[in-house]
């Protein structure tokens, strides 16, 4: 039946188009009572879908399909509606809340009892210790002076870029690292911008505030007082900073915001291809597992979020005429809620045309676990033994909506649930360890010291494991280990014998490591940036479905649509699969490559609370434009990179070039329109082994060091007085594999034991392939037979 043949149906369709879903439902229910039919069921299902009544939508799509089974579109909608119902997607997680100017401008609130007082300082070093410190300082002074001259001279003479692309990865390793050091120095000199007026403290705080007790030794819940002279630097509720000149920040509006049409970009340049069954085919990264994909979102939850979007003030993106969503959702536009404005922005009185607020602390402080405010932190704590609350079965507690309760729950899915659970357990294990060493410590001291240690554990894993896993390049691998340990330790010690703060700690960030050496902000206060946010749009990593199975071969085996793992769908999965099974499943599944036409199809038709049809691909384009992040070529210029001259510079793929020209135009000047995300995904010339290109890498190069180097707790305060000797030792011994095995020892007989880096595929074979485990080829500890798996190196005891 054609609905338009019927007057009642026509009215219903009109109501749908006008987004009057209640009226559409009334009409369609009457119609269905009068004349049951597949189309009526399907249309009613759509009305329920659009009004976020997903269970009812699911029922009616099922009824429609019973009457007319061969309707792929209805089948797809049924699957989506069912998944949305399972995950209770209509529920806002967390509760809706918007920034409040007075709260943002208020002084940091650290209660008298929030932090323990510092313990008396440990006895100073003995004679030998003093000699070591003096030696480290002396060496550091000398090396710093020499390094500066060498790096600058080499960088200037040799250069770091060719006609378009950088060239460090074509050089021998030592020179490649020197080139990277030069590039980083330039970025630190030229690309650290603030979003606050000159002379203002972060968050417009008054000068001269007195640090409350405890902040010298412990992280506060909201990230305040990391800098004792600028109390809100890096705190939650402060502005994102910028890595580009103010003049380059041009928030786009009107026609410019929608040109080229972001939905068209999404459909043409992002969409995955079809397999034989019509299902999306993902281009996989062979050397990574899905834990790496979940990990970066886990980290992003620690670092950055713009908070709730506006639901009533939306950007309306016209759907192209041939957009299948037009018929599927019976709408002609997509609605994207605008980014919350910064209520502290003084329009017309600031240099920055636009500013945005970071909802979470900018610091690498584990705020995704602990929350970014004291009330959340208190809610999550058990108040016994410093521990965080877990259910009896070791899973995260649930909130009233059936979603796991933790420090940061936006965009929640089961991958986050796994990692949050793991690091809550790690926190509790650290508490137990500290309690054994310091039996007289109270809950608050145990909690706060454990938090410092746990945050450092996560930072270390990200720095020395996740980063080289996604960018498996020998120079880069050495470089990130240099950041953490320093070149000397990295060259002289292997594996877990490496100490973050060496016995002779060379006071130089390259040779002695950033961590444990003096804080250095390069003259600018710390905060993560809008540009940083934009380069972490890594949605292409996500697959369409998750293949979940038991590590021991028994139990359930399911292929779960990604939709169904979101929000409360996550706890339903952890009720069926153990966290160990989930890690095993993720360890054996690949993420998608960060390339064009590899965007998850499910994210192009995502439902979010308040908006049943939301294409994240479109949103990814719109956000950069809305927030004034320059388009690709200007972004590169701002970072000291050469712009591309033509689309052919980007990639050798004729198909991609043709598509780019189709969308952006074929005039040479049209390359300037190229969106940042599209450009980064299109970059075909990438540093050897890299999972993403050099444009993203430049922001990464700047921030990977800065996140550590600007944080007092990774630099000046990374010592035994603050972390305890036990804490420093815990961090030295840790890697992700150890953390997973510590809490899920049942995984000891899986591929996890066969690999060194837990972000690699958990292959159990005796011989590991270079394509899937490239880091083994440059691992100094694996000079003999690097491709033999760890679990096959020493069969049998002893």
């Amino acid at each position: 039946m054609n609905p338009s043949d019927d007057q009642s149906m026509a009215q219903a369709m009109q109501a749908l188009e006008q987004r009057d879903f209640a009226r559409a439902i009334d009409l369609l229910q009457s119609e269905l009572a009068r004349q049951p039919g597949a189309a009526a069921h399907a249309t009613l299902a759509l009305a329920f879908f659009q009004s976020e009544q997903y269970a009812l939508a699911s029922q009616h799509y099922a009824s429609a399909l019973q009457l007319e089974p061969q309707r792929p579109q209805w089948e797809a909608m049924l699957a989506l509606a069912s998944a949305n119902a399972t995950a209770s997607i209509h529920v806002h997680v967390p509760e809706l809340r918007y920034f409040d100017r007075d709260t943002l401008l208020a002084r940091p609130a650290v209660g008298q009892r929030d932090l323990p007082g510092p313990l008396p300082a440990r006895p100073g070093p003995g004679l030998l210790g003093q000699w070591r410190i003096a030696l480290g300082d002396g060496l550091g002074e000398a090396i710093t002076a020499v390094m500066h001259v060498v790096t600058t001279t080499f960088g200037r003479l040799a250069g770091y870029r060719d006609a378009v692309w950088t060239n460090w990865y074509h050089r021998p390793q030592a020179l490649g690292i020197l080139t990277l050091a030069y590039m980083r120095d330039r970025l630190n000199a030229d690309n650290l911008g603030t979003s606050y007026p000159q002379g203002a403290l972060v968050g417009f705080q008054p000068q001269g505030q007195v640090p409350p007790p405890g902040v010298t030794h412990f992280r506060t819940a909201d990230g305040s007082w990391n800098n004792l002279a600028d109390p809100k630097e890096g705190a939650a509720g402060t502005r994102f900073l910028r890595n580009v000149e103010h003049t380059a920040i041009r928030p786009e509006t009107g026609t410019q915001l929608l040109t080229p049409n972001p939905r068209e970009i999404s459909l043409k340049l992002f969409s995955r291809g079809n397999g034989p069954t019509g299902a999306a085919v993902m281009h996989e990264v062979p050397f990574l597992n899905m834990i790496a994909g979940a990990w970066i979102q886990f980290m992003n939850g620690d670092w950055i979020n713009h908070g709730e979007i506006h639901y009533k003030d939306a950007i309306e993106v016209p759907l192209p005429d041939d957009d299948p969503a037009r018929t599927r959702y019976w709408q002609t536009k997509m609605f994207i809620g605008k980014t919350q404005a910064d209520p502290t922005h003084m329009s017309g009185r600031e240099v920055a045309a636009r500013t945005s607020i970071n909802e979470v602390t900018h610091w690498w402080d584990g705020s995704q676990i602990y929350g970014s405010d004291q009330a959340t932190q208190n809610r999550l704590r058990s108040m016994v033994g410093g521990r965080l609350t877990l259910q009896e079965d070791g899973r995260l507690p649930l909130d009233g909506k059936g979603v796991e309760d933790t420090g940061f729950t936006r965009n929640w899915w089961v991958g986050l649930s796994m990692l949050h659970t793991l690091f809550v357990r790690e926190h509790n294990a650290i508490c137990d360890h500290l309690a054994q060493a310091y039996p007289d410590w109270d809950d608050n001291r145990l909690f706060n010291v454990a938090r410092l240690i746990n945050a450092a554990v996560m930072a270390k894993i990200h720095t020395v494991e996740w980063t080289p896993a996604i960018l498996p390049n020998p120079s880069l691998a050495f470089g990130v280990n240099m950041n953490w340990y320093g070149a000397f330790t990295n060259m002289l010690r292997k594996g877990k014998a490496r100490k973050t703060v060496a016995d002779i700690n060379v006071r130089n960030p390259e040779m002695g490591g950033v961590v444990g050496n003096p804080v250095d902000k390069h003259g600018r206060g710390f905060g993560l940036t809008e540009e940083f946010v934009e380069i972490y749009r890594l949605h292409s990593l996500l697959p369409e479905t998750l293949a979940l199975r038991s590590f021991s071969g028994g139990g359930a085996h399911e292929t779960v649509p990604f939709h169904a793992t979101r929000q409360s769908g996550s706890s339903k999965i952890t009720g069926r699969f153990s966290i160990a099974d989930l890690f095993f499943s993720f360890g054996n599944q690949h993420p998608g490559a960060l390339v064009l036409n590899n965007y998850p199809r499910f994210m192009q038709e995502l439902s979010i609370p308040g908006n049943p049809f939301f294409d994240m691909g479109t949103v990814d384009i719109v956000r950069a434009r809305e927030r004034g992040v320059p388009r690709y070529n200007e972004f590169r210029r701002q970072l000291g990179l050469n712009p591309i001259r033509m689309f052919e510079d980007l990639t050798d793929s004729a198909e991609h070039v043709a598509k780019l020209k189709e969308v952006y135009g074929s005039d040479p000047a049209d390359v300037e329109k190229l969106d940042l995300l599209v450009g980064t995904l299109a970059e075909g010339r990438r540093p050897t082994g890299f999972g993403f290109g050099e444009t993203m890498f430049s922001i990464f190069l700047l921030n990977a060091t800065r996140r550590l180097q600007a944080d007092r707790f990774f630099t000046d305060c990374y010592n035994e007085d603050v972390y305890t000797p036990e804490g420093l030792h815990w961090i030295d011994l840790v890697d992700l594999k150890t953390v997973i095995l510590r809490h899920y020892p049942e995984l000891a007989a899986t591929g996890l034991t066969n690999i060194r880096n837990a972000f690699e595929p958990w292959d159990a074979d005796e011989t590991l392939s270079p394509e899937r485990h490239p880091l083994r080829g440059c691992d100094p500890e694996l000079k003999i037979d690097p491709w033999r798996g760890e679990a096959h190196r020493n069969p049998g005891r002893g």
Binding site: S382, V384, G385, E392, D393, A429, D432, H433, A435, Q436, A437, P439, S550, S552, G554, G555, T574, G575, R576, F577, S578, I579, A580, E726, H729, L733, T738, L741, R742, H743, P745, E746, L747, A748, A749, T750, G751, L752, T753, N754, A764, E766, G789, A791, H792, N794, P795, G796, R797, G798
Partner: protein, 510 residues
């Protein structure tokens, strides 16, 4: 300085023992043998006043096993316990960091002969008792309770006299099934200090007492009493006394029991005498330890040498949780059982219904062998002359092979990877919360180190024992089956809790 000298003296002695020790060459059974009349342990070794356990007296150790040099070394060692004891009062506790403590005790000299232990994943944090209940050596204690929960019941250890300053051993750990994880989860531990549950202040201490109880029971009762003094020794005595040298069963069992009586004599002195390893390492006083041995011999059941029947009796199979160690043990038992059946079929063929059983029942030597075993073992061997069949005799033979190979390994050398992490599972739990002193830990390391002396491998070719070509073929097939199992296991990732055919030794002799 004295401690430095003492420590290095004993380290060196241990190193010499492990360096000079060579795998036994196992000759064919001698033509002439003298019958062995076992006597109470206290009579054989007056320094160990245990009456209930019968052993082969030193003067009856068969000449083909006797080693004067080894006996001399052990006598010297025991003399040194008094003359220059490895123990020194008043030493500080070991380092809080397990790796550092081990590095200090397991020195470069040790490492020249043997790799350091590998930490099981269960000990990377506070020990996961639920995982230990199904993986590794302590899985043998897991049994079903009447209410459907599971337990380790080691409360009986509280009865024995302890050294001063220690918490009493003895614990009952209760586990419930986590169906999602298909695992056991410890939810309560009873000790003499009371009951503790996760989250309680006393939970970690209760875990330590539970693990100290388990590891003590494993080493003293399951390993030394069960495998050495009862199982292994009685197999050797009965076999030597009742099976003629050309009897097929004698040839079958010979590699698995040769050397046991000599070895037991020397190691019993080294470990059980006053001032020996057991008294000075573990929690019990010498008197307490002797009483434990007296009592626990009554608990010995031959079924522990049968991973199928033992797991069934403890009701741990197919109960909704994974049992990897049980699976591993049963996989190891299978080729042994197949070997016993193949071998028996050669000499007791099924020439008609019940023919094999009839042939066995007509074999006076086998019946006498069973009689003696049933007389020696406190609860017999579950097979007697009245009910022996082809099937149960084959199973009994497999159990004996399993006893001296798998059981001895998992309860002995295998503990290497578990027992040395005393920060996680102490051998003593001090009332003042301290860790073991340096001397106790050093001796624990050295005692375990010496359990790893090189011994003849199970997969060695013993087909020269065969009486004929079919027996030779059966023995060779056994080796091939073990090799195939090894290959299958090596195709999977290695784990600390897994036992491999390649690591198994053919008998229990040091």
């Amino acid at each position: 300085m004295i401690w430095f000298i003492r420590k290095w003296f004993w380290n060196f002695l241990g190193w010499v023992k492990i360096t000079l020790n060579k795998p036994l060459d196992i000759p064919l059974p001698p033509e002439t043998r003298r019958s062995i009349v076992p006597v109470p342990l206290g009579s054989a070794i007056p320094a160990i006043p245990i009456k209930g356990i019968l052993v082969c007296p030193p003067d009856q150790i068969p000449p083909d096993e006797r080693s004067r040099s080894k006996t001399l070394v052990y006598k010297l060692q025991v003399w040194l316990y008094d003359a220059f004891s490895p123990m020194q009062a008043g030493l500080p506790p070991v380092d809080a960091d397990g790796e550092r403590a081990l590095k200090n005790a397991f020195t470069w000299l040790h490492r020249t002969r043997f790799n350091p232990p590998e930490m099981p994943a269960e000990y990377l944090g506070s020990p996961d008792l639920g995982s230990l209940a199904v993986r590794g050596p302590y899985a043998c204690y897991t049994e079903r309770c009447e209410d459907g929960s599971y337990q380790w019941d080691l409360m009986q250890l509280a009865r024995y006299a302890h050294h001063e300053g220690l918490h009493k051993l003895g614990a009952k750990v209760l586990f419930r099934i986590d169906p999602t994880r298909r695992a056991l989860q410890a939810y309560r531990i009873d000790t003499t200090l009371g009951c503790a549950e996760p989250g309680d202040a006393g939970w970690e201490r209760a875990k330590k007492i539970a693990l100290a109880s388990a590891t003590t029971h494993l080493s003293l009762v399951r390993h030394f009493n069960g495998v050495h003094l009862i199982g292994g020794a009685y197999l050797a005595i009965a076999t030597r006394n009742q099976l003629p040298p050309t009897h097929p069963l004698c040839r079958l069992l010979w590699p698995y029991m040769f050397g046991t009586l000599q070895s037991n004599d020397i190691v019993t002195r080294g470990q059980m005498v006053r001032g020996g390893e057991f008294e000075t390492i573990f929690s019990f006083t010498f008197e307490g330890m002797c009483q434990l041995y007296e009592d626990s011999r009554h608990d010995y059941r031959v079924i522990v040498n049968d991973p199928h029947d033992d797991a069934r009796a403890r009701q741990v199979l197919a109960q909704g949780f994974d049992t990897p160690t049980e699976d591993n043990l049963r996989a190891l038992f299978e080729p042994m059982h197949a070997f016993a059946r193949n071998y028996l079929q050669i000499y007791y063929p099924e020439s008609g219904p019940g023919g094999a059983t009839r042939a066995i029942r007509n074999d006076a030597s086998v019946l006498a062998w069973l009689d003696e075993l049933n007389a020696l073992l406190p609860h017999g061997v579950d097979v007697s002359r009245a009910d022996v069949t082809f099937d149960n005799l084959a199973r009994l033979l497999a159990r004996w092979i399993y006893l001296v190979t798998v059981q001895h390994e998992i309860l002995g050398s295998f503990v290497w990877n578990y027992q040395l992490w005393t920060q996680r599972q102490p051998v003593r739990v001090y009332q003042n919360g301290q860790r073991e002193p340096l001397d106790v830990y050093q001796r624990l390391v050295n005692a375990n180190y010496n359990l790893n002396v090189t011994r003849r491998a199970l997969m060695h070719d013993f087909s020269y024992m065969a009486l004929d070509a079919p027996a030779k073929a059966a023995m060779e097939k056994f080796t091939r089956d073990l090799t195939a199992l090894q290959a299958r296991m090596e195709a999977e990732p290695r784990a600390v809790w897994k036992m491999y055919p390649k690591t198994l030794k053919v008998n229990i002799n040091a």
